[in-house]
Point group: C2
Chain length 310, copies 2
């Protein structure tokens, strides 16, 4: 029987890019998406609609497919939204992960499972964060991501849990709730004449370590295949970009002149001024480094929104 | 219709002591216990077997009783055990709390809800912790208790969430997994001749702020009735006792001579050397101070285990 690779959240942002990476590889790829949600149009994979909150559906699907590699990309991903969807964030990120790990254990498969953790479990710092830095999640989202790691540590004997700690990543297909994607969509809509040529912005001073999502998922594959179980790996570039500079770079790419309006109501009080990671472990242990420059990502992101039907 | 007070986890440690405090008061008291678990034999209350993980059972019971005061004492309470029962700890503490708050909101009742939070959400410190100190939960248990507080912050408009942050509390009826109760039970069993007169112990140097559970639940009632919603209150004495001194005080009360055997295997590596709280807010805002001296608690704890059928 061919090896089966499972991607949960496969219609989501990181999940869909992971499928692009995996679908031409060896073995079968099974892609789970939320029931009701439409799967991304990616061929070469077998789609299944599975509700991670339905323990018996997860158990049945795992028993049937018996995956030996699992990328668990499903979950609530937005820190700001987690304050409004607190219970759902805990449910899908924590209970959903438990159902998945438990199903793998019950099926008796030997599997490597990638947990895409988050930089938002670290205590804020004014320098690049390393994997041994103190953990101090400060939002329902951050709490749920640390809980996910803890569930991974406790998984059954046959389960090898690999932990990626992703910093901000961006690129085509990202939900416009996230800042770069939201700016890019706005610019594309302004170019089409749907809006006055104005962009309303919040905190432009915050600096973030931004990785192209395609580099991020390449790191996920490397970590799943060759990482050390239980050892977390930061996935980041080691460089921070101010949101202001990101916006300037997008505006420079716009086909019409734009005005920026600063709106204090859009400030999020919990926004840390800096979220920067040190990628040394991933680079030194597994040879990863980011390949796609920010300019390319921004071009691709704008092209994505320009190509979308309005 | 008389006011209804609900106690969840009413057959548990804090819950059962809370019933002692509430059952002679005005209004009805409804006591929830786990289905299958036997309720403590406390009269003057109406017992119901409700599974907090069963959302519709919780909804139905709340819609029927419409409590205006809720003490949410149910939940996984042991930090060490939470490393083995990680998924259950998150489920009962986080999802259970969500079901309860959601049911109250749907029922449209105006209620004050006490969340008995935990000192284990604070970052460890070498001094007394105050409520504004940094939060840094480091175990599934700690994470689940902070998640509980976060759910409380997000509860519906009619729900007033009161937050107690309990430090260690002890007394009769406590599970012997907890150190003082475990020592006391062992001594009672040795006195009956069930064991050789030896006590095996782990980390005796750790110091803890120990409150008699009856003082703790008195604080819960005060906070529920007169506390400020959303404002956390430490429930503690402000004094730390070394586990060694606690053990010495128990041994001094034993009716037979005992030998102490130090067993390094019983050390828990995550044990913080000090867990001490500052009770100033609870004292200054609400006039609470602990009444029961540690000697009394230890006498009562030993009497409890001596009276239990072996």
């Amino acid at each position: 029987m061919a090896d089966v690779t499972l991607v949960t959240g496969a219609a989501g942002f990181a999940g869909s890019h992971l499928l692009d990476l995996l679908r031409d590889g060896p073995g079968e790829v099974v892609a789970w998406h939320r029931p009701g949600g439409a799967p991304a149009s990616v061929g070469g994979v077998q789609w299944e609609a599975i509700d991670l909150l339905d323990a018996s559906a997860v158990r049945d699907a795992i028993a049937r497919r018996r995956p030996t590699a699992v990328y668990h990309c499903a979950g609530a991903a937005h820190v700001g939204r987690s304050w409004d969807n607190t219970a759902f964030t805990f449910a899908i990120n924590v209970r959903g992960t438990h159902h998945l790990l438990d199903a793998l254990e019950r099926a008796g498969v030997t599997a490597r499972v990638l947990i895409p953790g988050s930089a938002l479990i670290y205590a804020p710092a004014d320098r690049a964060l390393v994997e041994t830095d103190p953990l101090k999640p400060a939002s329902p989202y951050g709490l749920s991501k640390l809980a996910q790691e803890m569930l991974g540590w406790r998984a059954g004997r046959r389960i090898r849990t690999l932990i990626a700690r992703a910093f901000n990543h961006f690129g085509p297909r990202q939900d416009p709730m996230f800042v770069a994607s939201g700016f890019a969509r706005r610019i594309a809509d302004i170019e089409r004449g749907f809006w006055a040529p104005e962009i309303s912005v919040g905190n432009l001073e915050a600096r973030r370590d931004l990785t192209d999502v395609r580099d991020t998922v390449r790191a996920y594959r490397l970590i799943l295949e060759r990482g050390e179980p239980g050892r977390p790996y930061n996935v980041c570039t080691g460089r921070a970009v101010a949101i202001r500079d990101l916006l300037d770079m997008l505006i420079a790419r716009a086909r019409v002149p734009l005005t920026v309006i600063v709106d204090p109501k859009r400030y999020r009080p919990n926004d840390a001024p800096l979220l920067l990671g040190d990628p040394a472990r991933l680079r030194d242990d597994l040879g990863w480094s980011p390949r796609i420059p920010i300019e390319q990502t921004l071009d691709d992101l704008l092209a994505y929104w320009r190509a979308r039907p309005a």
